[in-house]
């Protein structure tokens, strides 16, 4: 559960490795190249060639407070870390030496918030992500000098701020795809990739039945070729929700220094005295409420046992010269006395005091708008209510005394507290609360009586009218059967109706007094079932005919059953079908040509094989064959789907080898070609002066395929026009057109319900409604248990 990979993991972009949840540490992400070839260095550094430019652009920015000695003091306060920091990827690759100086200026500035545009510029990076060396500190350079030759490559500093996998507890958020840790932009999962992957296993379905499979995810738009849609992201980039992952080097009090990794804060200079004065720092980004729950931990470093530290949240405008909790819009848990403080209530004893060596966890639950704390992996409880409803929250820590230091874990390392379990509990609670919702009658009407908010409606009526159980069952039946009808699952529809009738008879249902005024078609359904059955059948036949390339049957059958479909839009559908017919004819000639070619090759082989055995009498005949222009067995019907040459027994070829047969082949090819040309001429006569530009374009493109020896292999626009996918698209289109001509929606109501619901939930999440983050439709409705 906790390590479910994000959907994006199916996308073959190298960087995906670093987004995998199973990879908790940086080390796990780095392959071990024992002898890195020179080319590798170039590769590793090249994504960064753009970075120094971005850096120099920022060079004019104030360089914060840090002095060069800061780096040293950082090391001394965290000896366990400094060891590992010295082993950095950069320092251990000899070839990187010349580029070091370019990275050196980063020291002390690495915590400057990277402008979003810069993030976007970052190229997608290989899994040996150079971003891991991006903020190599001066310390590591100094320390690494003599050790260089013996440092194993895979040991990388854990303190360099890098893109790290999204903490697994955030996987409970339905917006998890949008939540991003620092640095490189995740490859956005594209839905089409997934569709094409899953449809691989469903090809049978495609062939046997309709196959709007591949387009079912976008039935409301014209079918697009698959190859193009792969590039269409399902989520626009501007909607990415950045997670707070490090302290800001700007949103901090000058008394504090931020370590290059962005996680450690140290109090510099003389201690501040009195309750009021303090030095706080915020994270670079606020917390997106779409997290559902956000959690971070703070380890108290330093020397003095007693610390004057407050950990909590602040809004953007809160003074940084106060501890969190002192000012309005800030909340904090104090280390010296264990009190919790915010301006809404007077300070109260909340939990134990804490000091050096302790790890304090701090979380905000956007489903309840409560702030909770943990100490050394144990939940203390909830300290504040009504937090973050209409305010961007920044994780904030305030320090007061010299020598005090903290180190935050925003998910870079495993948490001490089992936050995954915590979130899971809250997820379940939220979901079961949502599932207590009663179904309201307005669902059937799509609108309410007025434009007022739901609260005012409740006041007007007292109660919102809800659906009875019986009515909701009927709604379901209607949704299911219209879905089945839409996709033409005729047998299922019949079986379902038969069983429902039987059940209804047994239950002897009384008519419900108020069921009548809703247009639920259940009672009519059985009387209609025959018509529906016939309708599905003829629609299915037409669709299947298109899928099989039998356009004539499709046109005839459509003309018989749904004449209006062909005529609508000035016979546009007829035109499209006729174009396809021409394509099919051309493909037929191509197939014959191909068979001829492979037959020849085959015969050459046969010849060689057989020659060794009976070299005398066969010679003559075989030579004749090879020289002939159009050999090939007449009995082989060329079909698009099943090139049959491999199944031909060579002896058949040989025995069929007489002059009459060869003529037959030649004439077969010729007549196929003639048919195609005649058909093409008819098309030209009918459409060359058609004023519609889209008709003209399609018409020209269609005729153009003649120029290709094998249009199926041509690729690009030609392949799009002739491929089996094009058939599928056309079959889908005609299915839609028939449904539309009957006044049915172009996509089943059920699908619209799903999409509409998902859009609502997504919008809620983006608006900061935390509960929506725990309404995870794909988890609840799509994943198989």
């Amino acid at each position: 559960m906790t390590s479910r990979p994000p959907r994006s993991s199916s996308i073959p972009i190298p960087r995906s490795a670093s987004t995998s949840n199973s990879a908790r540490s940086i080390e796990a992400l780095i392959p071990i190249p024992f002898v890195p070839p020179p080319a590798r260095h170039i590769h590793a550094t090249s994504p960064h060639s753009a970075r120094p430019i971005a850096e120099s652009r920022r060079a004019g920015l104030p360089d914060g407070y840090r002095s060069p000695t800061t780096g040293n003091s950082n090391v001394s306060t965290s000896p366990t870390r400094s060891t590992s920091r010295s082993f950095s990827l950069a320092s251990s690759v000899p070839g990187r030496n010349p580029s070091r100086t370019r990275y050196e200026p980063r020291v002390g500035r690495s915590a400057v918030p990277v402008p979003p545009s810069t993030d976007l510029e970052l190229p997608v990076q290989p899994s040996t992500s150079p971003s891991q060396v991006r903020r190599v500190s001066g310390t590591s350079l100094r320390a690494s000098g003599p050790q260089k030759p013996i440092v194993p490559l895979h040991v990388v500093s854990r303190t360099t701020p890098v893109a790290f996998p999204r903490p697994s507890y955030l996987d409970y958020s339905s917006l998890r795809q949008l939540l991003q840790t620092e640095a490189p932009i995740l490859p956005i999962p594209t839905r089409k990739v997934e569709v094409s992957l899953t449809s691989g296993g469903r090809n049978l379905d495609d062939i046997e039945f309709f196959s709007d499979e591949d387009d079912s995810s976008e039935p409301s738009t014209p079918p697009r070729p698959r190859a193009l849609s792969v590039l269409v992201p399902s989520v626009s980039q501007e909607r990415i929700l950045k997670l707070p992952t490090r302290w800001s080097d700007q949103e901090r009090n000058p008394h504090l220094s931020v370590a290059p990794d962005g996680r450690k804060l140290s109090f510099e200079g003389t201690s501040l005295n009195g309750d009021k004065d303090a030095a706080s720092a915020r994270t670079i980004h606020p917390i997106p409420p779409g997290c559902g729950i956000y959690y971070f931990e703070v380890e108290i470093l330093g020397k003095d046992q007693k610390v004057h530290i407050s950990i909590g949240f602040t809004g953007k405008s809160v003074k940084l010269s106060r501890l969190p909790g002192w000012e309005p819009n800030s909340w904090g848990y104090y280390g010296d006395d264990g009190s919790s403080l915010c301006t809404d209530k007077s300070g109260s004893l909340f939990g134990p005091s804490y000091g050096v060596g302790d790890t304090i966890g701090c979380g905000i639950d956007f489903t309840t708008y409560k702030v909770f704390y943990t100490k050394n992996g144990t939940l203390i409880g909830s300290a504040f209510d009504n937090v973050g409803k209409s305010l961007d929250l920044y994780p904030t820590v305030g320090l007061q005394h010299s020598g005090e230091a903290i180190r935050a874990n925003f998910g870079q390392d495993p948490f001490k507290y089992d936050i995954d379990y915590h979130v899971q509990q809250q997820y379940n609670a939220t979901w079961s609360k949502i599932m207590d919702t009663t179904l309201e009658r307005y669902l059937l009407q799509g609108h309410r009586r007025s434009g007022f908010s739901i609260a005012s409606i409740t006041n007007d009526n007292g109660v919102k009218p809800s659906l009875t159980e019986e009515e909701s069952k009927r709604v379901l039946k209607q949704l299911v059967s219209s879905y089945l009808v839409h996709h033409g699952y005729a047998k299922t529809v019949r079986a379902l109706e038969k069983q429902q009738e039987a059940l209804d008879r047994e239950a002897k249902q009384p008519t419900l007094p108020d069921g009548a005024d809703h247009d639920i078609e259940m009672n009519n359904a059985s009387s209609k079932s025959n018509n529906i059955g016939i309708d599905i059948e003829s629609r299915t036949n037409i669709v299947n005919a298109v899928l099989a390339g039998d356009i004539d049957t499709a046109i005839e059958s459509t003309r018989t059953h749904y004449p209006a479909v062909l005529e609508v839009d000035d016979h546009l559908m007829l035109f499209k079908l006729r174009c396809r017919k021409f394509v099919e004819l051309i493909l037929e000639t191509t197939e014959i040509k191909k068979e001829i070619k492979s037959l020849r090759e085959r015969e050459v082989e046969c010849h060689r094989d057989l020659e060794t055995i009976h070299d005398g009498w066969l010679d003559e005949e075989m030579n004749m064959d090879i020289d002939d222009d159009a050999p090939g067995p007449l009995h082989i019907r060329p079909t698009l789907d099943a090139p049959s040459i491999m199944s031909i027994d060579p002896t058949t070829v040989l025995s069929a080898n007489d002059a009459g047969f060869l003529e037959g082949i030649a004439s077969q090819y010729e007549s196929a070609l003639n048919t195609a040309i005649t058909y093409g001429q008819a098309l030209t006569n009918d459409y060359q002066s058609d004023p519609r530009p889209d008709v003209q374009q399609r018409f020209k493109k269609t005729l153009g395929i003649v120029a290709w020896e094998d249009p199926l292999e041509a690729g690009g626009a030609i392949a799009e026009l002739v491929s089996h996918d094009a058939r599928i698209a056309l079959a889908h289109e005609i299915n839609q057109a028939i449904l539309k001509s009957q006044g049915r929606p172009a996509q089943p109501a059920l699908e619209t319900v799903y999409r509409h619901t998902a859009a609502c939930i997504n919008q809620l999440g983006l608006l900061g409604i935390g509960s929506a983050a725990f309404a995870d439709m794909s988890r609840e409705f799509l994943q198989q248990s």
């Binding site: 569709v195 499979e213 409301s220 299922t492 929606p745 089943p748 699908e751 859009a759």
Partner: protein, 225 residues
């Protein structure tokens, strides 16, 4: 309060289009409905027409449906036997469910005017359970009240509804859910959950944003300014 954001139909449709869901996903939801509601033959046909494997074997659907039918016929004894055939633990571990079945049996006795049997059964089987929990007791009292109103022309609806087909269906539904749970299947049809989520989501979103509303029956949108 800031003015409500307005999402136009075109924009909304674009978002709908961006939602990740495939036909197979939806087919699974349909299969879930067919299985849980017990449409065995439809589930079989659907499995064939879509190449979709159902999560349970079709036989368990059938025995579940047999139990449901028995209850809808009023043959509680048969239903109890069949539940025990399927999985004896269901009734052992779920006293509330067992009580409801016994209550239904009592109702059926009364329905058929077998008053003596009804009384005997109530005393032997139900009264001891009524002592176990106040909830059982009040249900038992409600059921026994049927006897008092037996010949009255207009009994109170709370009493009369016990004799309605809806009561049988309710019991059948509860047994069905218990069996599904014992098979570690979802006990509620996912599509019901979907509709609930829709209600929840639309209500909440309407407080913040004006957006097109959906008529779930035909999938059409109504846009309000």
């Amino acid at each position: 309060m800031p003015p409500k954001q307005l999402i136009r139909k075109e924009e909304w449709e674009k978002r709908l289009h961006d939602v990740q869901v495939t036909k197979t996903d939806l087919n699974r939801l349909i299969m879930d409905y067919l299985v849980i509601e017990g449409y065995k033959s439809a589930a079989e046909e659907f499995s064939q027409e879509t190449n979709l494997e159902p999560a349970v074997d079709f036989e368990s659907i059938e025995s579940r449906m047999d139990i449901r039918e028995a209850l809808q016929r009023g043959d509680v004894e048969d239903a109890i036997t069949r539940v025990n055939d399927l999985n004896p633990e269901i009734l052992d571990t779920n006293p509330a469910l067992y009580f409801k079945l016994q209550q239904q049996k009592l109702i059926e006795f009364i329905r058929h005017g077998r008053i003596a049997e009804a009384l005997q059964f109530a005393q032997d089987e139900l009264a001891p359970r009524g002592e176990e929990s106040p909830e059982f007791l009040s249900e038992l009292e409600r059921t026994m009240a049927l006897l008092a109103f037996e010949s009255a022309p207009n009994p109170p609806s709370a009493i009369a509804e016990l004799l309605s087909p809806a009561q049988r269906m309710k019991t059948a539904g509860e047994v069905n859910a218990a069996i599904l749970e014992s098979l570690s299947q979802g006990k509620e049809v996912k599509l019901v959950g979907l509709l609930k989520l829709l209600c929840w989501g639309e209500n909440l979103l309407e407080e913040k944003v004006a957006f097109p509303k959906l008529n779930v029956l035909d999938g059409s949108f109504v846009e309000r300014g």
